[in-house]
């Protein structure tokens, strides 16, 4: 277990340095330090509906010192996703601003300090908030759902949050908008380790106590697209070659 943890820490550090270097260079091209989707060389579309989509990663468009401060904040945030430290995450927020938080496994936003502090407490200390029925027809809105039912963290034996390809820029004096990619791996108790890739967006505010979070949201890929991608990853080069051959033959016949 110790060896494994050490390996994880070392990997996190390396990843962190790689992502910081990518930021500092300001490259517009992809600079993913991770092999995001094992077997992706077999993916026809490499995770995209349209093979023409670009990776628009821009890095930081902020002054060097601001970039350094914000990367330190993001790295601090990432490092707190462990079974021992996840309850300290609200310390990175501006206490004078109403917080908004949406984690990828949650049904509803956490809005305000009662909800955010309550969620990140070791024990569930706040009343359950019903998701209001707001008139949407069908879909999961009709399913009974409650905020704190989705507290996954207390059941985790291990967690690892890796940050990749941060793009950030100023949207107003003292306010920065940032987007990045997340490689999140976790080991629930009595369940095998698993990993998930999603995106994150955040807003940071400059306060008397340095830069702080005021908004954070995580975005998975739409489930139907995610499953479709799994299917695409099963396509072999042989099958792609066969399709190509058929298309060539068809083209030759029409000429």
């Amino acid at each position: 277990m110790k060896t494994w943890t050490g390996g994880v820490l070392a990997s996190s550090l390396v990843l962190s340095l790689v992502s910081y270097n990518a930021l500092a260079d300001g490259h517009k091209s992809a600079s993913a330090p991770l092999e995001y989707y094992p077997g992706e060389e077999r993916e026809f579309y490499v995770g995209n509906v349209n093979p023409g989509y670009q990776d628009f990663h821009l890095g930081s468009l902020l002054p060097e010192d601001t970039t350094r401060d914000l990367m330190a904040l993001i790295d601090d945030f990432a490092g707190r996703w462990t079974p021992e430290r996840w309850t300290t995450i609200p310390e990175l927020w501006d206490r004078d601003t109403e917080p908004y938080v949406l984690l990828v496994h949650q049904r509803e936003w956490l809005v305000g300090w009662d909800q955010v502090d309550g969620y990140f407490a070791k024990d569930q200390v706040i009343p359950v908030k019903e998701v209001p029925a707001l008139g949407a027809k069908g879909g999961i809105e009709q399913i009974e759902a409650q905020h704190y039912e989705f507290r996954a963290e207390p059941d985790m034996e291990a967690m690892m949050y890796n940050v990749d390809r941060v793009t950030m820029h100023e949207i107003a004096p003292g306010l920065v908008s940032a987007v990045w990619y997340v490689d999140f791996q976790f080991k629930p108790r009595r369940i095998a380790p698993r990993g998930e890739h999603f995106k994150a967006n955040a807003i940071f505010k400059e306060t008397g106590d340095g830069w702080k979070f005021v908004h954070y949201g995580e975005a998975a890929m739409a489930p139907i697209m995610y499953i479709e991608r799994l299917y695409r990853s099963q396509v072999s080069h042989e099958f792609l070659g066969m399709i190509e051959e058929q298309e060539s033959e068809k083209e030759a016949r029409t000429q």
Binding site: V104, A136, I171, S177, N201, I203, E218, A222, Y226
Partner: protein, 199 residues
């Protein structure tokens, strides 16, 4: 009967068009005027898709923002910059696989982070039909950042659709079919184990 109908028509005419129900959530903290202005934009955003006018979506973005950011729930990569938005919202027509969509936004929360920056969260109920597939429906969360410009209007500078983790979403779908009264009407799964062990 005819008189009754005429009376009804007259009453409806006097009342004017029915005002659409607000989609603002009670957790909105922005001043009323700003919240309603953002609400109008969010409704117009959906309306452009619903009437097939989505190629003009980009008009609702701040053209002076050098780094607009966008994420559709179907994508696994951010779209960043004006060039990215152009590509996303104006693809070649031969690539269009979508037959029709109906988007209904709801649960809109608006808060101000400064005089010129607002953040909004809401949900979209999406009915969606691809040309080659059956119709499907989906609910997903959205967050967006708006900037108020000198003309007094708010414009998008960031928009992201925040889909739920696929495994949790599928679990939700499975939960829909749970029989009434379950699990309370079931026996503990392990109830017979101790008796079995004693035999």
């Amino acid at each position: 009967m005819k008189k009754l109908l005429m009376t009804c028509c007259f009453a409806i005419a006097l009342a004017g068009p029915a005002k659409a129900e607000s989609i603002l959530h009670s957790e909105t903290s922005a001043p009323k005027a700003d919240a309603e202005a953002i609400e109008a934009i969010v409704i117009e955003w959906a309306s452009k898709f619903n009437r097939g006018d989505w190629m003009r979506i980009k008009d609702m973005w701040d053209a002076d923002e050098e780094t607009p950011t966008y994420l559709g729930e179907e994508r696994d990569q951010w779209v960043i910059g004006q060039e990215g938005l152009d590509q996303y919202f104006n693809p070649p027509s031969e690539n269009t696989m979508v037959e029709t969509v109906v988007i209904q936004p709801y649960g809109l929360r608006v808060r101000l982070l400064s005089d010129t920056i607002a953040v909004a969260t809401w949900e979209n109920s999406l009915d969606f039909k691809m040309k080659t597939r059956p119709a499907v429906q989906d609910d997903y969360r959205v967050n967006a950042i708006f900037r108020k410009k000198d003309d007094g209007k708010w414009y998008f500078i960031h928009y992201a659709e925040l889909a739920m983790s696929p495994l949790i979403y599928v679990e939700h779908l499975y939960r829909r079919g749970v029989s009434e009264g379950f699990p309370e009407n079931g026996k503990p799964y392990d109830a017979g184990r101790s008796g079995y062990a004693n035999n």
